[in-house]
């Protein structure tokens, strides 16, 4: 049964007693080799909120998640998570911080050689000294939360795309993270799986008292569930606001993105020389 998340006054729960945002990104720059990907990003993720980062493919959304998780280091600027500057942490501190983060990868990234149960148990076994009995109970609880307790004996290759995504979600929340990150959680899902996943993301965020960042380009589903949206283009944040603001936005980029128009600020054509000129030159060459 689909659960609607209208406005959501009840969701103002905050995971920590501090009022500072959980993630603060200031003037963040990042380049692969010499190709700039992010140029001066500023954004804040408040505690307890579910925030979407939207933008066209290849605009650096996933890169942003990796910078928050400390898998990449910024060329300039800071990423501060719960008061710690991710880019400056040493190996051990970074790993300690990551134990309080969960990440759902685009296609789940389940360990193909481990069963569903062992996949969910993996972070618990690697990062805690819990007894096998306790792990068993915890794993089944997590799987129950995503509705797949009955599938714990299956191998990842026996799961549908949507189920794999949910198992990965159960694995990501195994250590009860304070920050959840979702990389394109809706990519390649059928409408039912998509609705289930969206619902789960919202529900888990509230149940865990966590904050969540979701990178996506699925407009309708995101507008339904998130609290706040950042739009990225060309390595910058170009627009932001609540779903309500976004729907009513008259920003040309946001408008194009939300309504899925093929031409606009994001051009249909890859940069090319003048069409007519190129045709004429071709004619001359063949003459």
């Amino acid at each position: 049964m689909p659960v609607a998340y209208p406005g959501g006054e009840k969701r103002k729960r905050v995971s920590s007693d501090t009022n500072s945002p959980l993630v603060r990104i200031s003037n963040l720059n990042f380049a692969y080799d010499n190709r700039p990907i992010l140029t001066g990003i500023d954004l804040e993720i408040p505690r307890g909120k579910l925030v979407a980062i939207m933008g066209t493919s290849g605009c650096g959304k996933t890169t942003l998640l990796r910078l928050i998780g400390g898998q990449l280091r910024a060329s300039a600027g800071d990423v501060v998570v719960d008061g710690q500057n991710v880019g400056r942490l040493g190996h051990d501190d970074l790993f300690r911080l990551r134990r309080r983060m969960g990440m759902l990868f685009q296609f789940g990234a389940l360990f193909t050689d481990l069963s569903v149960f062992d996949n969910v148990a993996f972070p618990l076994r690697e990062n805690t000294d819990l007894s096998e009995d306790l792990i068993h109970d915890l794993v089944l609880m997590k799987l129950h939360a995503v509705g797949l307790r009955g599938a714990h004996r299956l191998m990842p290759n026996e799961l549908s795309g949507g189920m794999a995504r949910r198992v990965a979600l159960a694995r990501a929340i195994a250590l009860d993270p304070m920050l959840m990150m979702y990389d394109e959680p809706f990519a390649g899902l059928d409408p039912i799986s998509l609705a289930i996943t969206g619902e789960l993301i919202r529900k888990l965020n509230d149940a865990l008292g966590a904050s969540s960042i979701m990178v996506t380009h699925d407009v309708p589903e995101s507008l339904k569930i998130v609290d706040y949206i950042f739009f990225m283009a060309g390595g910058k944040v170009v627009a932001q606001g609540t779903p309500e603001d976004i729907r009513n936005s008259d920003d040309p980029f946001v408008h194009q993105f939300i309504w899925g128009e093929s031409d606009g600020p994001v051009p249909f054509h890859y940069p090319a020389p003048n069409y007519a000129d190129e045709m004429v030159r071709r004619g001359e060459r063949h003459a």
Binding site: G69, R96, R99, F105, A109, F122, P123
Partner: protein
């Protein structure tokens, strides 16, 4: 014209520097693997699990190839020795060729194409499907958890497989020389024991296979870990593992042989 020449020189230079760069990266990676090996040795079941894939699954190809190589050696060498009237030396010659050279080298080549490529493909696939990233985000170091156990399982398997290859090869030579051709059994074995020296031949052969084990495992985990995260990337990395391993094995074999067997 001049431009084209300069251009090709620049390209050549670029290729050389990129190779050297890659070697440097591989060395750093090897260092990281060795440093991150603590977990693997503390939780030995991780290595045991990989030993199944590198060792047990290589048993059949190693045994069958060893048997055939030994039988071919038996036939060929007997034929040649017979021309010099030294057919009875067959035992020693077969054993020496296997223990010193063919055992370690051929076993390592087979190992690279069976286990090395499998390691690369597996790690490369984990890279392509973001399993390695997922592991990092779960605060688990993939070098310690994925790379080190595979590396060490390769290092452990290789000398055992090479020894098995030589032993079965010698048995193959025995089948041909003694059972088929009819060389006296006692002569076969005593000739072998006379010409094979434990320290000089057998220990050196084992040292060779240990070196090959390190080389092949190193190449396999490096290529896998640094594969481009796509289907083409993984298949290219797998090919590179087999090709680079083969070249590295033969080059290392030459260097080792030069050190070991020309001193006398």
């Amino acid at each position: 014209m001049l431009e084209a020449v300069l251009d090709s020189i620049a390209r050549l230079g670029h290729r050389v520097t990129s190779r050297v760069q890659r070697l440097g990266r591989a060395s750093v990676f090897l260092g990281a693997t060795l440093l991150g090996s603590g977990t693997a040795w503390r939780r030995f079941s991780l290595i045991v699990r990989e030993l199944y894939y590198t060792g047990v699954l290589s048993l059949i190809i190693i045994s069958v190839s060893g048997l055939f190589v030994g039988m071919v050696l038996g036939l060929q060498l007997y034929e040649t020795l017979q021309r010099f009237g030294s057919g009875t030396m067959i035992g020693g010659v077969v054993a020496l060729s296997l223990v010193r050279e063919l055992g370690p080298v051929v076993a390592a080549l087979l190992f690279a194409s069976r286990a090395g490529s499998a390691i690369t493909a597996e790690i490369g696939l984990m890279r392509a499907t973001e399993q390695l990233s997922a592991m990092e985000m779960m605060a688990v170091d993939p070098v310690a958890r994925v790379v080190a156990p595979r590396f060490w399982s390769g290092v452990i398997s290789m000398p055992l497989l090479a020894a098995l290859f030589s032993a079965i090869g010698i048995f193959g030579g025995y089948l041909i020389a003694v059972v088929l051709i009819g060389v006296d059994e006692g002569t076969f074995w005593s000739q072998m024991q006379d010409s094979v020296d434990f320290r000089l031949d057998i220990v050196n052969g084992i040292i060779k296979s240990c070196v090959f084990g390190v080389v092949v495992s190193w190449i396999a985990v490096f290529e896998g870990f640094h594969a481009a995260p796509s289907a083409e990337g993984v298949s290219a990395a797998t090919t590179r593992t087999v090709v680079t391993s083969a070249l590295a094995i033969l080059a290392a074999d030459f260097v080792l042989t030069a050190f070991m067997f020309t001193g006398a």
